[in-house]
Symmetry: D2
Subunit: 332 residues, 4 copies
């Protein structure tokens, strides 16, 4: 279902070109100061306009419908909607018979027997990450941890100085590129998470893979750990007043449970599926292979927008975990 | 919590050196033939004894307590337990003050205020994957899909001919190595999964990260996708009677929903945490850094045992998804 | 949390005097015709204006934000909001220090540390049953069963001819009365529900007790069953082509599972808490016992509005059950 | 599914005449002293042997498989099983074609396509309340509240002095009678529960209706509230250091949330379904109406055993609520 969490519950709805998209956040602590302005920084980080992202100007103004009274959270569910505007539905009419490669057009149609809203990807649109970001703002506030995600490579290039040229060249070819985001969460106490099945990695990966375009996730040493010896990867505690780990190859988690070190994970994003370049694909109605030119203006590298989204889902997971953990509970 | 699933629900319990470990599987279809023998093949695949795994002979005989009547599943929950035996608790007494690097000894102690069962990792033991495998056997039967997981590399080595020497050399050094498992599921219909938050990747990664020792997961082209162009990674449909994908870079999933191609994902396992080699770590009682020699016999490469476990959790996820999907529902 | 259901999931939000109240319904079958007009009949049944209900004219116009495309459900979540208007917040200012007897003013304030929205009961308002009714409209459509709830008594009076006088007399005294609603669902197949813990009675009572003002629920013979002999209450099957029950003292459910007979249950509603009559209660700020006159116009008997709400929650439960039941699944 | 709870999760399994029945309890606080002896008092209260209950001597010895180490809870799931013995399967062979009136024989068979275990009611047996009682023991310990349930009437008779004669007379006729249990929980803090959909009444009724044989539940004034005036039923706060309610007609709950007064509710149990008296019912194989004599020895009034079961499920609900409630959380 379109909800996540047991104690800090987030549900999203809406379609790219429908009336509105939105989110309901339940389990928000009462008494936190919260206003529309609190959302703008993260919304702007996600917003289009940067080099390599689509120039479409979206209506990203949050409208808070509930859960706030006199500038504070009430404890009741917070509903936030974003009206859609500046949509060009006609762009998508021709795509009904020819599902765009890499998009969910085909699977959505199969799943919902052809009744899915096809305009702009409908409910599968990347625009749905906007309410996720809004939920993340509240989750961050509730956690009080420090979330910091950065794009570390695009198209395999780790030297940020070379990115402008790479983006320009890719745009010129009418093509797209992917990227990798690294996220680090500082300040998380030890003891959160469960051995089975709700390990911290389980919950974070669950939430991360609902961001459109994710292809992989790794924690700490990640895939590289599979090529290390135990004596290299093992992470001894070292003497301090409060126990600390020498390395952080486990990414802050042992046995599914936070160990007090920063949580560190990396997320692989695929290249943008919509490209200007001509593609050969199936017309599902006629059965013929046809040329497809995806109309509209699209991100050369949508991964550029994703760090704030990755932070958001990590914050949602941790806000959810914080509320029902026994050690935290018994210590407060 | 120690349960997974909404419609095919799996809950595990037990400690490595306690009375018994076990699993309760709820949501099993009534009328499937099922006997103790059905479990033995997968249990043997997981069992110790192969080169590179610990020679400890565990008591892996399943005892079915409920849910079976006259050789068939009844529809009621199936409880299966495995008695523990041949345990050497004294091996672990010395480790109480000195948490083993890479293990959950420290985090379990923090989470449960020191009341956790420390013997053999307690509830965090790799032995808990045995009931997972048992649940997987039932899940596979219920799905009817073909699950095939293989170890593709250990210690970074992909040439299987070189593995015996690598394992022998690592064992001689008293060290350990990790590995990568690739899993492929054939026969999955299109239309399973949800866009948010229960994408197929979300659910599979959630389940996979509850296997001890997992550091990363990737679907289809995975991390490599982040270094491809859209024109390379995009996966056009090609003309056939039933729509088919040209490549399978998405690993069988678009927009969180199965597309009818095989589901393909890879899982990175860290090297075994318990090694014979001396390690320097903290005595949490005295605050001194001490030499630690982890006693007992341990797997040089526990990843060797994991393919059947990866299959099991994938099967559990798909059995869970199958039961509540609308298209599947309306078509049967 | 403010959500119900596993497969047909309903979440509500909003406060009586906030921006809007609303509901998100997830798990709706794709392809059902659905428009704003479909909601009006049930909304009108719940609406104020009948004898004995408050003359306040609410803004009960549904605004559908998502999940509908070209007049049909898409399979994606349906969000519906109702703007609030015609509110008189000043009525409630004086009540902050003096919680109204029978209302949630006190408990909401304790739960949310005084940050709850106090206007008109905030999130606890009976107005929140409006989105429930909207969700019920969709649930009924999805089930295809026949739901019929009626008020069978008010203030203990079962003779409907006497109700107008009873209501008038009670209103004149500035007092209020309660009532009992009986709900019957026809057309439910045998086999829905679970023995533990999701019996049909468990799920229906769970949903029913989230309607404000419910004090009790009973199925079939109900409390009277406790005074019967087994030979009177037992319900033998009688010979027909498809097995049928002679009586329906079990209210359509045996062992938690529907038996094919109509589901029948009764719900007791308390008298309206807000009354014009002066009440003696605590000023929680000063600690004094004071006279309280609850301002505003209120229902003499809000139970008059509830049959459609009872139908709605019963429909939500059955829509949720229908999607994941094995026998239904295997027979379609 | 056969599980209840989000934070204190209880799952039961087993059949009356299978290998064993049992329960897994997850979310138990670490460090509580717990031994087999702690279960015996409540198990004895439920046990057969009292006047009016069946003389069958069951094997009610709990076997704890996990979650306890050195006499204390570890924080990991606690699995407890009860071996079945002294069963007389042959009693039930004849009933396969003739479902017993009032039992789940027919619905279980429909739900599970005839593969259900028919012996002694299988998974639907009242014996499954034994693991519930065991879970209740742990829940009570974890809550620390005072639970007190009593049978207040049997067969409509409230004068306990007359019960022995009533039971004897009913037994002589080969018939059975029902009863009403009242449960009171003292010591519950204000602020537990949710307005929608997880009101305290919702959760308690959900759990209570999974006890076999329940026909109704009411809180506080219950059904009688529907016949009261608001001025009678309303419950003003009265001056004390900590706010207190004058009456307790709401049964300790306002707006779904505990108000600090004792939680009080009543549960109606039907008469025992198995009676010696001859019943006329359907042979589902032949389609004929036949005489049925249910063999075996059965409770004249199984309600006599139920108070401890009602306490158990109430304790399970409150243990579950306690762990994730914001006010409780923020105050500890």
């Amino acid at each position: 279902m379109n909800t996540f969490g047991r104690n800090f519950k987030v549900g999203i709805f809406g379609e790219s070109h429908g009336e509105a998209i939105g989110v309901v956040i339940d389990g928000v602590k009462a008494g936190m100061p919260l206003s529309k302005e609190d959302f703008m920084e993260d919304i702007l980080r996600r917003k289009s306009g940067a080099k390599g992202t689509t120039p479409r100007v979206e209506s990203d103004e949050p409208e808070i419908l509930s859960g706030i009274y006199e500038g504070h959270t009430t404890g009741a569910p917070i509903a936030i909607i974003f009206r859609n505007s500046n949509t060009r539905s006609s762009d998508y009419e021709a795509l009904k018979e020819v599902p765009r490669p890499g998009h969910a057009d085909f699977t959505a149609s199969v799943k919902w027997n052809g009744f899915n809203d096809p305009r702009g990807g409908g409910h599968f649109s990347g625009r749905l990450t906007l309410p996720l970001v809004a939920a993340g703002v509240i989750a961050k506030k509730q956690c009080g941890f420090s979330f910091k995600a950065d794009l570390t490579e695009i198209g395999g290039e780790v030297d940020k100085a070379k990115w402008p040229d790479l983006l320009a060249a890719t745009a010129k070819e009418g093509d797209s590129i992917g990227g990798v985001v690294e996220c680090r969460v500082d300040g998380v106490p030890a003891g959160l998470g469960e051995p089975f099945f709700d390990s911290v990695e389980s919950l974070i990966s669950h939430a991360v893979f609902s961001i459109p375009g994710v292809r992989g996730i790794e924690f700490g040493d990640g895939f590289a750990a599979s090529r290390l010896h135990g004596s290299e990867h093992n992470d001894p505690l070292v003497a301090t007043k409060r126990p600390m780990l020498a390395k952080n190859g486990a990414g802050g988690v042992n046995g599914g449970i936070t160990n007090g070190a920063p949580i560190v994970f990396r997320v692989a994003f695929k290249p943008t599926s919509s490209i200007a370049k001509t593609q050969r694909t199936l017309n599902t109605k006629t059965g013929e292979i046809v040329d497809l030119n995806v109309p509209g203006r699209h991100d050369v590298c949508f991964a550029l927008r994703t760090p704030v989204i990755v932070e958001a889902v990590a914050a949602i997971v941790l806000a959810d975990l914080l509320r029902c953990q026994d050690t935290v509970f018994s210590r407060l």
